[in-house]
Every structure is written in structure tokens, then in C-alpha cells.
């Protein structure tokens, strides 16, 4: 039972972004907090970009900062959140801004309001907020998507901030490091080029994070003895040499926090509930199961006939045929059969179906998007697997005909 409770606790920790970045000695956290709190306290405008790869905790840190600030200045902050994936067109963006501002200030939101009404409403509210010394914080997630098109939203936001009376902070979050280069001139000139870079943690930081995530609290509903025992085991695992090896490999592959969390989630959910403790094997299975090689897996699923077709296509590719379709593949398949007298020679319709299977598996794809007028046999296709992968896959395939391996090896 305590195992289950511990598991639930760990899983909710991993899923909760707030917890992950809570105790981290992140300088970005203090920088961001300083910047926002000064603009709130001194009633000035500000705009900041938070840049960093996906899953590096940009939004999580920002949320923590906002949480603190909302406690610090409960009455003088209102937050508007936009997401580039949802509101990248101006109409829905302004509508969403108006909706959130209405919610915030207990006003009635009209769904029928036009684009113009909404944008005027936003400017008016900004002015009012400025007069009331209230800061509106705009959070634009996926900032780069707002920079598509005419950038009307960004322009009117930043332009409204130019007036003395208004008081707003615009926070752009993006995983494109060149996000500010995407801005138009008129927008860029109104943007203060403050950027905060979020980098993936170093190995030491990752290790600290690991301990932070996996250590159970001693003063909680969990039994004291169990928690102490659990923490000791975790400590042992982390200090284990073999674990360190896996951990380094994992970080070499992708050192972002999100990737680490995925790994932890997998390992933790494989915890043995009978004993209620983590073991090194959990982490090992997690590592092997998270690193997938989809193309090789796909090759393992193929039937022998499908392998023949793949090899024929590969040979055509080596011959540098500019175009390749089913008919050409069949010709090559027949060539192979004629010169080596294989036992696997099937009728054309059977091969066509195997060919379609390969298309479904996405080992092949059509090179033209439009050619629906032609039937499958004539549409040009290309191979989506490299020769090295094919070679490796054939080697791993248990009952692969020797001739196929030879053919691939010869072509190199």
C-alpha cells in the first residue's frame, strides 16, 4: 500500500511542472522575478523574450514567478495568456484577450464583438489599468507563431504600450532562438530586446534534479521507516556506476528536462509495488524503451517479400534512377529473380499488395502529392530508409534470405 502511495506521489511530482523547478537555484528565476517586479512596482512598460529549447522549463519558471508576484501584489497584476498554436490569427487573439480581460475585471464578454471592437476594448482597458496602476501581463506562448503574417497583434500591443499612461509587460516564450529576428521593423523598434536564455541543465544539475525528484519527504503521510529506506535505496542507485553510465548516455542523447522526466516517469511506473522500492533494473528498462529505433522495428515487421521489394528499390537507388515506381521495382525484382533463381517469386498482384503494405508502414512514400489520377503502380515513390539502416535491419532479421544480405552488402 505504501508502495502505491509513494508511486502516486512520485508520478504526480513528475507531471507537475511547478515542483520540478521549485528549488532549483535557477538564475533565470531571480532575473525574471526582478524584471517583472520592478516593472510592476515602478509602473513602467516592459517586454521580455524567454528563449530556450522545448521542455527547458520556460513556462514553468514563469508560472512560479507569477505565483510569487500574485501573492506579493495581489491587486495590481492581471495576467492574459495567449498561445500561438491557438491564437495565431489576429481575430481570435483579440477575442481571447477581450475574453480574459472581461473575466478578470468582471465585465460582460460579448461573443459577437467585432475585431475592431475587441482591439479598441483592449486599448481602453490598458489605459484604465494604467490609470489604476494595475499592470497587465501578456504571456505569448509560442511567440514565433505570432510573428507570422502581418503581426497586427504584436504591433497593436506594443504600440499601446508606448503611451505614457499604460502599464503592461509582454512576455514572449519561444523555442526559436531567432524569434526577435522574425519581427517586422515597426514591431521590432517598439520591442525592448531583453532576452532570457533557458539552457538545458548541466550533468550536475540534472543529477541534483534527479535526487530532488526521487527523494521521498520524511515528514508526510508515508511511514517514516519506509521513506528513509526508500531514500537510501535511491541514493544507492544513483551512486551506482552502471546507473551513471546509463544516465550519461541519456543526457548525451537529449539533456532537456522534459526528456529526463520522461525517463523518470517510465522508470518510476515500473517500480515493483510488492516491495515498494525502485531498483536499477527499472531505469535500465526505461532507458531501452525510451530510445526507440522506429525504422529498424519496422523492418523487423516486414515479410520476406516486402524485404525483397525494399532491396530492389535500394538497388534502383544505387543505380541512380531518377524516378522510381512500382513497375520499375517489379522489373528489378524480376531481374534479381532471374539472376539468382530465388524461391520467393510471386505474382504481380501479391507484390503490389506487399508494396502497399510498405507504403502503410511508411518505409516508402509517394514523391508527388497530387498525382491521384494515376494508379499506385505508376506513381513515383522514394525510399524512406537509409542503406545503413537497411543493412542493419537485414542482419537483425532472423530468417532473412542470404541473397538479400549479399545484394545489400555488395551495393554498399
Amino acid at each position: 500500500m505504501e508502495g502505491e502511495n509513494a508511486l502516486n506521489l512520485l508520478r504526480s511530482r513528475i507531471c507537475d511542472t511547478g515542483f520540478i523547478f521549485k528549488d532549483s537555484s535557477d538564475t533565470n528565476y531571480s532575473k525574471l522575478k526582478f524584471m517583472i517586479s520592478t516593472s510592476v512596482a515602478e509602473a513602467c512598460n516592459n517586454s521580455i523574450l524567454l528563449l530556450g529549447p522545448r521542455g527547458s522549463g520556460k513556462l514553468a519558471v514563469l508560472d512560479l514567478v507569477l505565483q510569487d508576484l500574485l501573492i506579493q501584489y495581489p491587486d495590481s497584476i492581471s495576467v492574459v495568456r495567449l498561445n500561438g498554436l491557438l491564437h495565431c490569427d489576429d481575430i481570435s487573439a483579440f477575442k481571447e484577450i477581450a475574453r480574459q480581460l472581461c473575466m478578470e475585471h468582471q465585465l460582460l464578454f460579448s461573443k459577437a464583438a467585432s475585431f475592431d471592437d475587441n482591439s479598441q476594448f483592449m486599448v481602453a482597458v490598458l489605459k484604465e489599468c494604467g490609470l489604476a496602476h494595475k499592470t497587465v501581463i501578456f504571456i505569448l506562448d509560442e511567440f514565433d507563431l505570432f510573428a507570422q503574417g502581418k503581426q497586427r497583434l504584436l504591433y497593436s500591443l506594443l504600440d499601446a504600450m508606448q503611451s505614457v499612461s499604460s502599464q503592461a509587460v509582454v512576455l514572449g516564450i519561444s523555442c526559436r532562438l531567432d524569434a526577435d529576428q522574425l519581427l517586422e521593423k515597426r514591431v521590432r523598434s517598439r520591442f525592448s530586446h531583453r532576452k532570457l536564455l533557458f539552457l538545458p541543465p548541466s550533468i550536475e544539475d540534472s543529477q541534483r534534479l534527479l535526487v530532488h525528484m526521487l527523494t521521498l519527504p520524511i515528514d508526510s503521510s508515508l511511514p517514516y521507516d519506509y521513506a528513509v529506506e526508500f531514500n537510501k535505496k535511491v541514493q544507492n542507485i544513483i551512486e551506482d556506476k552502471r546507473f551513471k553510465e546509463i544516465f550519461n548516455k541519456l543526457l548525451n542523447f537529449d539533456s532537456s528536462v522534459k526528456h529526463l522526466l520522461k525517463f523518470l516517469f517510465y522508470a518510476v511506473s515500473h517500480m515493483d509495488l510488492q516491495t515498494g522500492f525502485l531498483s536499477r533494473e527499472n531505469f535500465e528498462t526505461a532507458f531501452t524503451n525510451i530510445q526507440r529505433q522506429p525504422k529498424l522495428e519496422c523492418l523487423k515487421n516486414c515479410s520476406v517479400l516486402e524485404l525483397y521489394i525494399l532491396v530492389s528499390m535500394k538497388r534502383l537507388e544505387v543505380k541512380e534512377k531518377s524516378l522510381c515506381n512500382f513497375n520499375a521495382v517489379m522489373k528489378e525484382y524480376k531481374n534479381i529473380h532471374d539472376s539468382f533463381q530465388t524461391s520467393d517469386y510471386y505474382a504481380r498482384n501479391v507484390c503490389l499488395r506487399a508494396f502497399e503494405h510498405l507504403l502503410h508502414r511508411e518505409l516508402l512514400c509517394f514523391t508527388d502529392n497530387r498525382g491521384h489520377s494515376l494508379s499506385v503502380e505508376f506513381r513515383p515513390v522514394k525510399l524512406l530508409i537509409s542503406s545503413a539502416e537497411l543493412h542493419q535491419g537485414l542482419k537483425a532479421y532472423q530468417s532473412c534470405p542470404a541473397i538479400l544480405q549479399k545484394l545489400v552488402e555488395r551495393d554498399g
Partner: protein, 542 residues
């Protein structure tokens, strides 16, 4: 398995697999009458509870995947990072997920991206289920919410999810106060399942909807929501410019030969006999395909053949070594032949086959070609349509410049006499032309050319005045009477609709619509044979 065969009808089904292993999932129907308002319990899969062991035994070769999913879903009320379940067709992804939720008795919102074929329908289907809304006559089959934009969807979704989660929490609190521990606990988690997720890539707005759905978990920030994506292609086929945090992959490999054997053996009356049959037949078929559905259709008629020498169709016979050998010798030639036609449907009565074939033609032109290669032409078509088909084929195959010489009064027979000895260069050219035909496929032609060829070949066919071919003469008479033109255009549009002839957009230079024949040479040969039409005479061979 028998235990699962419950009289109660579960709320949701998967597409029925061809194997009987999942036959316990009966067609969907609402348990409660449509007028009754839905409750939170309708988000459960329904049906009798199943034990984990039952599920494992009903899905041979899938125990590691089942255990993995159960572990990742975790105990009651534990949050879940998004899962990405992938594997080839007919590997049991959807069935296993649904059965597991039936076992765990947790609420889920299932929407398949195949039936919800665009983003609006997907959004509305998810919301309908979450808001416990059922479409019926009373509400004019309206949706709970009208929702087209992703931004509205996320707002509505957040609202609906909070409602459902509060509902669930209340329920579990009640459970605790009533001391009904452990049985029938549903927990506070709600799971959103998106099936056939690979299809989303082909949608109109896939570049925005894909990252939206992948980032949905981060956007919602609700610990009580679990997302499960089911796709038949691997995660690497979803890479776009946009990028997203990859969900946790769970891989369903295709069945191995041993697994397939076990699956096919299920629900067989005479296990021993079938097993000896599989010893012989399974291996060669596995070299062609390893999809259970296809294998079982291919093996079924073969097994009937296998049983033929036995007195009572092989019921209750325990095969001895001697008998096995005899049966093997009997079946051997059949295996070799049936390897090469996987599409044969032989068990249905002939009339049904015919109608089946006809509908198939309209649905899928590519399939029809291949099914036609077996046996004789087995669908009905009017004679003029057949001629039209042949002329379309000729127009697509032959270069337009040769029409005059091919269709002169002598039927192009003197074409060969003119043939000179081919020089090396000519041979090379010939090869190139052949290659081009192979690559480019059939060419396009304007309507006028089609009609001209049609008139030529019809007039030739009526010319010989063969006594046997009354049909053709009748047709010829019809042509004479002038009703031909309107009739042909009608026939042409029928053939276009049936996908025998592809009607393209109008050519920007000439301004006329261009056509292309999509049928294979084998089919045309068959059609020509049925008319006793000398096709080869008119076909230009480079």
C-alpha cells in the same frame, strides 16, 4: 473468453478483427435509451468486468505490451504523461486499450480520427462525450457545443474537464463515505484517447492541429487528464518544423509466426487437424504477409480444401501421421497456386460475389484491377460500355500520332509490313520508350479522340458481319440510328464515376477536359475477349 461474452452491450467497440479472438466486442449501441440523460458512468467502457489474466489470454503474444500499459497507467488516481501507442495494422492496439480500461473501470473519452475526419468533428465529438451529451431527435441531433477554432476548443475542453473531474471526485468521496472500498472505484482521472492518430497528418490544417494535440497536455496543465494517442505509424513520421515534446512510446510489434499460429488456432473446432494444416500452410504465407486479417482470409478456403478428402469435413478427426502425409500431398498444389492470388473470395455464392465486385469497383479502382485478374470477367457491363472502355484504353496507351495509321480501314495490319530492320539506335529508343511507358503510366486524351476511336472500332466490329455476334450487330444498328452520341456520353460519365476512366481538370492550354484510363491491360484483354475484339491488332507496341 466465454466469460467475456456478456449479454450486456458495451458502449464502444473496435472494428471487428477478422480473428474471432475479439468477437466478444459486439456492435455498439447505447445501453440506456437515448432519451435518458447520460451519467458519468457512461464514460466507462462498460460490459462485465474482466480480469487482467483474461485479457492476456485473449490476446496471444501481447502480454508484455499489456503489462507495460498497465504499469504506465499506474494505480488509481496517479497522473499520466501522454502515451503514444503505435504498431502496424491489426496488432491489437485499440482493442487492448479498450479492454484494459474495461478491466480498470476508469472513464475514458474515445475518439477515432477516422470517423472524426476533420478537426471540427473531432473537437465536437470529444466535447459531446465530456459534456455527457447524446445526439437524439429531441435536440435535432445537434452537438453540445459548436466549436471550430482550436482556441474555443481548449476553452471548452478545460471547462468540460473541470466539470467531469469534479463530478468524479464527488463520486469517489461518496464511495469512501459509504465504505464501498475497492469495488467499482473509478478514480479521479479522465483519459482522452485519440485513435488512428496517423490520419491527422493528412487533414487540411494538420500543421496546426498536430502540435496542438501533442502539446495539449502542457496547455491544459491538469494532472487529472491523461492523453493516449494510438497510431499505426511510428513517432518519427510525425516530425514537423514545429516540434513538440515527444510522448512516451509504447510499441506493438507485428505478430511473430508463433503468435499468428496461436491466434488462428483459437476458436477452431478441430484443433489438432487445424494445427497440422498450419504446419503445412502457414510458413509459405508468412513469407508474403504477416497481417493476421489477410492471412485468415487466405487460409480459410485453403483449409476447406484441406478437409475435402476427409469424410465428415474433418470434424472430430484426430490426424495420424499417415493421414497428414496424404492430406499434405493433396493440399500442396493448392498452396502454390493460392499464394499468388490473395484476393480471391470464393466462399460466397456467385450472385453475391458479383454485386460485391461491382460495389468494389466503385469504391476502389486499384483493388478492382487485381481482383479481376482471377478467372473470367465476372461483372456485367453493357456492350457499348465495353467498347468505350477498350477505346479509352487504346487512347491512353497509343500515341496520338499513330491513330490514323492504326485505325484506317484495314485495321492497321499493314503496319507490320513496313517494319524495317531495327538499328541499334532504334532499339535504344525503343527501350527508352518502353521505360517511359512503365514510368509515366497511361497518357491522357481529349474527348474527341475517344469518340473517334470508339466509332472506328465499333464500325470495324460490325464490318465482318459475323453470324455469331448478333450483339455487336445490334449495337452497330444502334450506331447507325444516331442515338449513339448521347448514349456514349452517358456511358462515359458512368465509367468515370466507377473510376474506370479518370476525368482530369481541363487542360490550361487547350481548354478541354482530358481523360485517362485507369484500368490494367489484363482487364482490357478480358473485356476484349468477351467481345471477341482483336485488341492486339490495335495496340501499339513500341
Amino acid at each position: 473468453m466465454d466469460k467475456e461474452e456478456s449479454p450486456q452491450i458495451p458502449r464502444r467497440t473496435t472494428r471487428s478483427l477478422s480473428t474471432p479472438s475479439t468477437s466478444n466486442i459486439v456492435p455498439a449501441a447505447k445501453v440506456n435509451s437515448s432519451l435518458e440523460s447520460l451519467t458519468i458512468n457512461d464514460l466507462l467502457v462498460g460490459g462485465d468486468p474482466v480480469s487482467l489474466d483474461d485479457i492476456i489470454s485473449s490476446f496471444p503474444g501481447r502480454s508484455s505490451q499489456i503489462h507495460e500499459i498497465v504499469r504506465l497507467l499506474g494505480p488509481l488516481n496517479s497522473p499520466l504523461l501522454p502515451l503514444f501507442v503505435y504498431g502496424g495494422a491489426s496488432t491489437g492496439k485499440t482493442s487492448i486499450i479498450l479492454q484494459l480500461f474495461r478491466h480498470l473501470n476508469r472513464p475514458l473519452v474515445y475518439s477515432s480520427c477516422r470517423t472524426c475526419y476533420n478537426q471540427r468533428i473531432l473537437f465536437e465529438s470529444v466535447l459531446n462525450q465530456l459534456l455527457l451529451h447524446s445526439k437524439n431527435a429531441a435536440n435535432c441531433y445537434a452537438n453540445a457545443k459548436r466549436c471550430e477554432r482550436p482556441s474555443d476548443f481548449v476553452n471548452f475542453l478545460r471547462e468540460a474537464l473541470t466539470g467531469v473531474i469534479n463530478n468524479l471526485k464527488e463520486k469517489s468521496e461518496k464511495m469512501i463515505s459509504k465504505k464501498k472500498v475497492h469495488d467499482g472505484k473509478t478514480g479521479n482521472m479522465i483519459y482522452l484517447v485519440f485513435d488512428n492518430f496517423h490520419l491527422v497528418r493528412d487533414w487540411d490544417k494538420s500543421s496546426t492541429i498536430l502540435p496542438l494535440l501533442f502539446n495539449l497536455y502542457d496547455m491544459l496543465k491538469m494532472l487529472e487528464v491523461g492523453l493516449i494517442f494510438i497510431s499505426s505509424t511510428s513517432p518519427d513520421t510525425f516530425y514537423t518544423n514545429m516540434g513538440y515534446v515527444e510522448p512516451i512510446p509504447i510499441y506493438f510489434p507485428d505478430y511473430t509466426e508463433g503468435d499468428i499460429r496461436q491466434i488462428l488456432l483459437r476458436n477452431q473446432a478441430n484443433q489438432k487437424l487445424y494445427s497440422s494444416f498450419l504446419d503445412v500452410a502457414l510458413k509459405p504465407f508468412c513469407r508474403i504477409t504477416r497481417q493476421v486479417g489477410e492471412l485468415s482470409t487466405a487460409l480459410k478456403p485453403l483449409f476447406e480444401k484441406y478437409c475435402e478428402p476427409l469424410s465428415d469435413k474433418g470434424k472430430g478427426v484426430v490426424p495420424s501421421e499417415d493421414m497428414k502425409r496424404r492430406l499434405f500431398n493433396h493440399i500442396k498444389p493448392h498452396i502454390a497456386s493460392s499464394l499468388n492470388d490473395v484476393f480471391k473470395v470464393s466462399s460466397a455464392p456467385s450472385s453475391e460475389v458479383e454485386t460485391g465486385k461491382q460495389t468494389k469497383h466503385q469504391g476502389n479502382p486499384k483493388r478492382s484491377e487485381r481482383s479481376e485478374e482471377i478467372g473470367d470477367l465476372d461483372f456485367h457491363m453493357s456492350t457499348s460500355a465495353k467498347y468505350l472502355l477498350i477505346s479509352a484504353f487504346l487512347a491512353s496507351r497509343n500515341p496520338a500520332t499513330l491513330d490514323a495509321s492504326l485505325f484506317d480501314s484495314k485495321g492497321g495490319s499493314d503496319n507490320r509490313k513496313r517494319k524495317r530492320k531495327a538499328s541499334e539506335k532504334a532499339l535504344e529508343k525503343k527501350e527508352m520508350l518502353e521505360e517511359e511507358l512503365l514510368m509515366k503510366g497511361p497518357g491522357t486524351f481529349p474527348l474527341e479522340r475517344l469518340i473517334a476511336i470508339f466509332q472506328c472500332i465499333v464500325s470495324v466490329a460490325e464490318d465482318p458481319a459475323d453470324e455469331d455476334e448478333q450483339k455487336n450487330e445490334e449495337l452497330g444498328a444502334q450506331c447507325g440510328s444516331g442515338s449513339l452520341m448521347s448514349d456514349v456520353l452517358l456511358q462515359l460519365s458512368t465509367l468515370c464515376n466507377a473510376n474506370f476512366i479518370f476525368k482530369g481538370k481541363s487542360c490550361p492550354i487547350e481548354g478541354s477536359t482530358r481523360y485517362r484510363s485507369t484500368i490494367s491491360e489484363d482487364l482490357v484483354l478480358k473485356v476484349a475477349r468477351s467481345l471477341k475484339f482483336p485488341l492486339s491488332k490495335y495496340l501499339y507496341r513500341s
